[in-house]
């Protein structure tokens, strides 16, 4: 398995109106994505998922840290990236309503990357767009429709077709279905999985829906307040969630059947509010809501601990009370 994307100690801070105070949207995260993986980034709203995604695609420049795409350093904004890279990495946004230009027809929308990257024009452009429409199973009479005449699910399919247009190998999917109904979601997920196989794509899939992740990804990273608190293979995380936050998330999922119920950790209940990323509490950011919080959690940031191969947790419960700060970095180094 080849690493296609490598994120190292990525930080993205946004300045606030107050001088010297930052929104720590993404705070020192590291992960690897392997070829043809579906890597899921999970977390509640404001945890920094989109920021991570946007930094990967180049919408933001990292505050610090590195991003490598196929061993190629891409830790800078889109303006400085070569055109080739813009073709390789694509993104599908969360809201199908805003990600399509309301004043353009489907042909123009899907055609834009084709004219830029493939220099297609006229007839060949139309043909190529039709091919893409077919790929996402939309009829050809959509060519001249405007986004406002199209339903939400189909809009998202068009956004996917646009992402596929320049023949990328890596697609970031930022909550592509969270604005849609489950029945439509099913259809879109199916399509995405099919295309992944057909076109040998790699996905960075962002969502807050753990049940969905369970069904499509092979590796997961769980974010809380800008930090990855736990990551590892999907099966392992679901069968044995390590971090209290992961457990809380899992136990909060409303499920349909007893079988599923059985999979939910029972012993943890959600309490408290998510703090704002501007006032990240000292120590472990989760300690305000954690039922297992100890004194150390309020004082020291927990280190990264690799509890199983490829499975990392950031929690004092697993650090055996050792001093995290120095080990922190070591862990990351050895792991990456």
């Amino acid at each position: 398995m080849q690493t296609i994307l490598k994120v190292q100690n990525l930080k993205k801070y946004f300045p606030t109106k107050k001088k010297g105070v930052y929104v720590k949207a993404v705070d020192e995260i590291s992960f690897d994505i392997f070829e043809q993986d579906v890597f899921a980034l999970v977390g509640e709203s404001g945890s920094g998922k989109s920021t991570t995604a946007y930094t990967v695609v180049g919408m933001y420049e990292p505050t610090s840290g590195k991003i490598f795409y196929k061993n190629f350093d891409i830790s800078y904004g889109v303006d400085k990236r070569p055109l080739k890279l813009k073709q390789e990495i694509q993104i599908v946004f969360q809201d199908p309503g805003t990600s399509l230009n309301p004043s353009k027809t489907v042909l123009q929308i899907i055609g834009a990357p084709l004219t830029i990257h493939k220099k297609l024009r006229g007839k060949s452009l139309i043909e190529e767009v039709l091919k893409l429409l077919e790929m996402v199973e939309l009829p050809s009479d959509y060519l001249y429709k405007l986004p406002r005449d199209i339903g939400g699910g189909e809009k998202q399919l068009i956004a996917i077709a646009r992402a596929l247009a320049p023949q990328p190998s890596f697609i970031v999917l930022d909550e592509p279905t969270s604005a849609l109904d489950v029945s439509i979601q099913a259809k879109i997920i199916k399509t995405l999985l099919r295309l992944k196989e057909e076109l040998k794509l790699t996905y960075l899939f962002i969502t807050h829906d753990l049940s969905l992740v369970r069904n499509i990804s092979n590796r997961i990273a769980i974010m809380y307040l800008g930090k990855i608190v736990e990551q590892g293979p999907t099966d392992r995380i679901f069968s044995d969630p390590a971090h209290p936050y992961t457990q809380m998330l899992l136990s909060s999922i409303p499920v349909l059947t007893k079988d599923e119920e059985a999979l939910k950790p029972k012993h943890i209940e959600s309490t408290g509010e998510i703090p704002s990323p501007v006032n990240v509490p000292p120590g472990c950011p989760f300690h305000t809501r954690c039922p297992f919080a100890k004194q150390i959690c309020r004082e020291k940031e927990p280190p990264y601990v690799e509890i199983e191969p490829g499975r990392i947790v950031r929690c004092h419960l697993f650090s055996n009370g050792t001093d995290g700060s120095s080990k922190d970095e070591e862990e990351v180094q050895t792991w990456s």
């Binding site: 606030t16 109106k17 107050k18 105070v21 501007v278």
Partner: protein, 342 residues
């Protein structure tokens, strides 16, 4: 607290804009043909007198130097001398400005009361005949220029049915009150000269009404629009569902959030009156600031033009700050937003 910081920032920023305004208008009025000194002294004045005046006015210096000389004087509170009235402009303005502000204050009052109440009524009875009538009335209000109203009002209310005085600021037989603020009404009330205060009020009703028609109509429509809009919002539906009386909803719960837009627009309208009222002031022969400005422009009264435009700029700035304060009063998000976000 942070709100005041914000307003102070706004003021500082506006001062920057005013500098820009002064440069702009200084340049415009200085590159035009015609020698202001010659115009001022009249045709028969000998050349040496003109030259002397040019020197006095610094017209013989390069424009950049002139600007800074002017700026220096401005900071000392000296706007220069009007070529037309031959007096310090500060003095002219101290006479015209209060007169204009009186009218503007009254129009603001008319705008707010007429506009908001009509809008409220219209929203409360939306889609009924009353709404239709108000809609048409406000349309006419919006599209009819103030000077047309002025002519009509003058024709009807002081010529055909002479209940209001035609012109001027105070009746010839009445002694204006001694100057304290420059406003006859306020000074009259302060000094117990109620007759003068009332007479002045009587004089400004028609012009103020003419000036307020457009803004009032606009405000009525905006108030109606945002009230009808907000009436469909969940929080109003909730209030209705909880059985809160309609009267209370329309007077309080719905009105307050709906006033932000009309009030902002109204404040700008009112500030604009200072400059745009001249046609109305002309019709009513009212010794207002706007008319002074137009006369200055028509007579190339250099420093007077600059001062007038600058003061209108200041009025805009003030209006904007006032808008901020009013909105902050109406909308807690604006008032406390800054604290919250940090």
């Amino acid at each position: 607290m942070s709100m005041w910081v914000y307003i102070i920032k706004r003021i500082i920023y506006s001062i920057g804009v005013l500098f820009g305004v002064s440069i702009l208008i200084f340049i415009i009025s200085n590159i035009v043909p015609g020698d202001p000194a010659r115009i001022a002294l009249g045709p028969r004045a000998p050349d040496w007198a003109v030259k002397r005046l040019r020197k006095e006015m610094n017209l013989d210096k390069p424009i950049v130097e002139r600007y800074f000389l002017w700026l220096g004087n401005l900071l000392k509170g000296d706007l220069g001398e009007s070529l037309r009235s031959r007096r310090p402009i500060t003095k002219d303005i101290s006479e015209y400005l209060p007169a204009s502000l009186e009218i503007i204050a009254l129009s603001a009052f008319f705008m707010a009361t007429i506009g908001i109440n009509l809008g409220r009524l219209s929203a409360r009875f939306s889609d009924t005949w009353l709404d239709g009538v108000i809609r048409i009335v406000s349309y006419i209000g919006i599209v009819t220029p103030a000077f047309v109203w002025a002519i009509l009002f003058a024709l009807i209310f002081s010529y055909l049915i002479p209940i209001f005085p035609t012109t001027g600021r105070i009746s010839p037989g009445i002694t204006p009150p001694p100057r304290i603020t420059g406003s006859y009404i306020i000074d009259g009330l302060l000094t117990g000269n109620f007759k003068a205060a009332f007479d002045t009020l009587w004089h400004i009703i028609l012009p103020a009404l003419a000036l307020s028609m457009g803004g009032a109509a606009q405000a009525a429509r905006m108030t109606r629009a945002s009230m009808v809009d907000n009436a469909e919002k969940d929080y109003i539906l909730a209030a209705k569902a909880y059985g809160i009386p309609y009267k209370l909803i329309y007077k309080k719960l719905l009105l307050k959030p709906s006033l932000i837009a009309p009030i902002s627009i109204m404040a700008l309208d009112i500030a604009a009156l200072l400059g745009n009222a001249f046609l109305v002031e002309l019709v009513f022969l009212y010794p207002g600031f706007s008319r002074y400005g137009v006369e200055a422009m028509l007579h190339k009264d250099l420093f007077a033009i600059i001062s007038v435009v600058l003061i209108i700029g200041v009025a805009y700035t003030v209006a904007n700050v006032v808008i901020d304060i009013i909105i902050a009063y109406l909308d807690p998000r604006a008032r406390m937003g800054a604290e919250q976000n940090v």
